[in-house]
């Protein structure tokens, strides 16, 4: 047990830095305001995202509702064909494959869904749900049954769960079934699309622990989509912050929580409710005002400028409206802000991770 753990750890280390999934200039546009079959406007759900997911890591994608997180996640596993850009997995360019080839190639890409009620077929028994990827691969009945029992054990469900229907389970248990189904395909990468947002806080902690445990044992790579920064802090190695279809900041989790370099990230972090209020030192923490602009009419220049608190404090510099900032700032910490370096002086961030993040690793 211990030796195998160590071996896996080493395996993880050596696998480090090898990028498993590459996304280049990915765009996903949806036609809006159709007229006579012609799109007259486009919803820019994902607008030129470039990312790479390193083997063995957990990359969190965070952002407001409607910023394109889910669309990005679905495009990563090619559930929807991107409008433009490339997705390659394990050096195979998925965007160039035919439908049949894609079906075979993406088996190693799985997804855990947000809604534990909608993601399980209400008419299938748990064993059929979990066994479906095996059935599709042509695993014979008996082997399938054994494997399903094994997988159910792995996600913490007893063998008595197998013949039951999804409706007989609570949200957390259903989510475990969803995880078992994803694992049945023997994936290398799992996109977790807000797998916790429909669950109680106490159940969330259990599922987080389960996801971590499974990741350790099976050497998995996660793309973890969430709007819950407390959870992200617990599980992520790196964080990509999305705003209005683009990535505005990308860095190691520890770095991004300590020293964010984009005003939007700062605002997101300070919006996390805290249990213990420290004595506020100076200004009130910057919060984002109002609703995000429509992804149909993306603001010119920096997408964030109409809501940016930093721009206000800098007396509305021209460049924020005239030029679009691109992700830059070296390898480790990328940010798409013209004033990323000046941000530190203006943000008195009293986001204290340890105080505000409760749920912890308790199981």
């Amino acid at each position: 047990m211990h030796s195998s753990d160590r071996r896996e750890q080493q395996h993880r280390k050596s696998a480090r830095q090898r990028s498993l999934l590459e996304v280049k200039n990915l765009s996903m546009l949806f036609p809006a305001r159709r007229r006579l079959g012609q799109a007259r406007a486009w919803v820019r759900a994902v607008d030129g995202v470039t990312l790479s997911v390193i083997s063995g890591e957990t990359l969190a994608v965070v952002g407001e509702s409607g910023c394109g997180k889910t669309t990005l996640g679905r495009a990563m596993v090619m559930l929807a064909r991107p409008t433009a850009g490339e997705v390659s997995f394990d050096n195979i360019e998925l965007t160039k494959l035919s439908l049949g080839a894609l079906r075979a190639a993406r088996r190693q890409l799985q997804m855990i869904f947000q809604d534990p009620y909608g993601s399980l077929d209400p008419r299938q028994r748990v064993e059929d749900i979990v066994g479906e990827p095996l059935l599709i691969r042509g695993v014979p009945r008996r082997a399938r049954r054994e494997r399903v029992a094994e997988l159910l054990g792995l996600v913490g469900l007893g063998p008595d769960a197998a013949p039951r229907l999804p409706r007989e389970f609570s949200g957390g248990q259903r989510q475990r079934v969803g995880i078992a189904r994803a694992l049945a395909a023997e994936p290398k990468l799992i996109v977790c699309d807000e797998p916790l947002s429909a669950l109680d806080v106490s159940i969330q902690a259990q599922i987080v622990a389960l996801l971590k445990d499974v990741q350790q044992r099976l050497v998995l790579t996660y793309v973890f989509i969430s709007h819950d920064l407390a959870v992200v802090r617990q599980i992520a190695d790196r964080v990509a912050v999305m705003y209005l279809g683009t990535v505005v900041e990308l860095a190691d989790a520890a770095v991004i929580f300590q020293a964010p370099r984009h005003p939007y990230t700062v605002a997101l972090l300070s919006a996390v409710p805290k249990l213990a209020t420290r004595s506020s030192t100076s200004q009130a923490p910057p919060l984002v005002q109002g609703d995000p602009p429509s992804p149909i009419d993306v603001p010119r220049g920096c997408r964030f400028h109409p809501r940016c608190w930093l721009r206000e404090r800098l007396n509305n510099p021209e460049i924020c409206v005239s030029a679009e900032p691109f992700l830059s700032g070296g390898d480790k910490h990328l940010s798409a802000c013209h004033f990323a370096t000046e941000l530190v002086r203006h943000a008195t961030l009293d986001f204290d991770a340890s105080a505000s993040l409760s749920a912890g690793d308790s199981r």
């Binding site: 679905r74 596993v77 559930l79 079906r103 075979a104 993406r106 088996r107 890409l109 799985q110 997804m111 869904f113 947000q114 809604d115 009620y117 909608g118 993601s119 399980l120 077929d121 209400p122 008419r123 299938q124 749900i129 479906e132 990827p133 599709i136 691969r137 769960a161 039951r164 229907l165 409706r167 007989e168 389970f169 609570s170 957390g172 248990q173 969803g178 189904r181 994803a182 049945a184 395909a185 109680d200 106490s202 159940i203």
Partner: protein, 310 residues
């Protein structure tokens, strides 16, 4: 957070809900009884002591008596026996033609909903235009076409079909006609259900696992469309019975010696003034059967309403 609750299996829940529904609605119990009677009579028709084709020329147009319970028709044939034989025809028509119609409807609805896009638009516009066309008119069109092709000198290719047509006394033509007429509603219902299901996350998960379109239809779409298909059947069956009667009434349905409720009504209308009982018996039979079917259909819809499920 409730743990696994002990719930009875789906099937027994349905049975339990059905019995409680019957207790609540006396009309439903009566309707089921009525349908059971029709089915019994249809099954037992050949066992009746007095055959439907036997003529008693001395007692033509006889009023109901102890021997001929429902009287005799213009050729002296027993109306009761013919009614029972007609029930048989109606039932066969109802069941077989709805099977054909629902099969066509499910297939087209699934295809349309699952493919989406241009194919969906094309298929649904076709269905819309069929809807705009009066159903009875369309049925008459197909029925006369089928009759024309199969009853007379049939082309060599259609000879086996024509044989079956003659053997069934024109019933086959009615079945084909109704099958091709009554699928529209089913197709629409199934399509809308597929549209609702198609983007559900369990279908996405299935696609991720590498499932083919056929696998998804078979394992997820068909089982989950089942309540809707059942509801569709409750619409199609009474409609088919009514259309069959209508076709037989105007003489392009079941061929004359074979008794059918529609042909009996047609004969009864001729002598409505002098012998109203010849019309009343089959008309009542059709009316009662359709009413009962509708009541039972309503109950089934309530029982299987997809909105109430989960």
């Amino acid at each position: 957070m409730s743990a696994i609750e002990a719930s009875p299996s789906v099937r027994s829940t349905i049975i339990w809900r059905a019995t409680s529904l019957i207790r609540q609605r006396p009309a439903l119990a009566l309707s089921i009884l009525c349908l059971a009677l029709v089915a019994l009579v249809a099954l037992g028709a050949p066992l009746l002591p007095y055959g439907p084709f036997k003529q008693d020329i001395l007692h033509r147009n006889g009023v109901p008596s102890a021997f001929h319970w429902l009287g005799t028709d213009e050729l002296g044939r027993d109306v009761g026996a013919r009614l029972a034989m007609g029930a048989r025809v109606s039932l066969i028509v109802a069941i077989s033609s709805s099977l054909i119609a629902v099969a066509i409807g499910v297939m087209i609805g699934m295809l349309s909903g699952y493919l989406g896009g241009f194919a969906d638009t094309l298929i649904m516009r076709f269905v819309d235009s069929m809807y705009a066309f009066p159903e009875t008119l369309f049925a008459i069109l197909i029925a006369s076409l089928v009759k024309g092709q199969l009853s007379g000198q049939a082309p060599a290719l259609l000879e086996p079909l024509a044989e079956a047509y003659r053997w069934s006394g024109g019933l086959l033509g009615v079945l084909l006609t109704l099958g091709f007429t009554c699928w529209l509603t089913t197709a629409r219902l199934v399509r809308s259900q597929v549209l609702a299901l198609k983007n559900s996350e369990y279908i996405l998960a299935s696609q991720l696992a590498g499932a083919s379109g056929w696998f998804i239809v078979k394992k997820h779409l068909l089982p989950n469309a089942q309540p809707v298909i059942l509801v569709a059947i409750t619409f199609v069956v009474p409609n088919a019975i009514l259309l069959e009667a209508g076709l037989s009434f105007i003489g392009i349905g079941v061929d004359p010696p074979t008794p059918s409720w529609g042909t009996m009504i047609a004969a009864g209308v001729q002598s409505l003034q002098s012998y109203p009982h010849l019309l009343i018996a089959p008309a009542l039979a059709i009316g009662a059967t359709l009413l009962a079917l509708n009541v039972v259909g309503d109950a089934l819809r309530d029982l299987y309403d997809p909105a109430l499920r989960r």
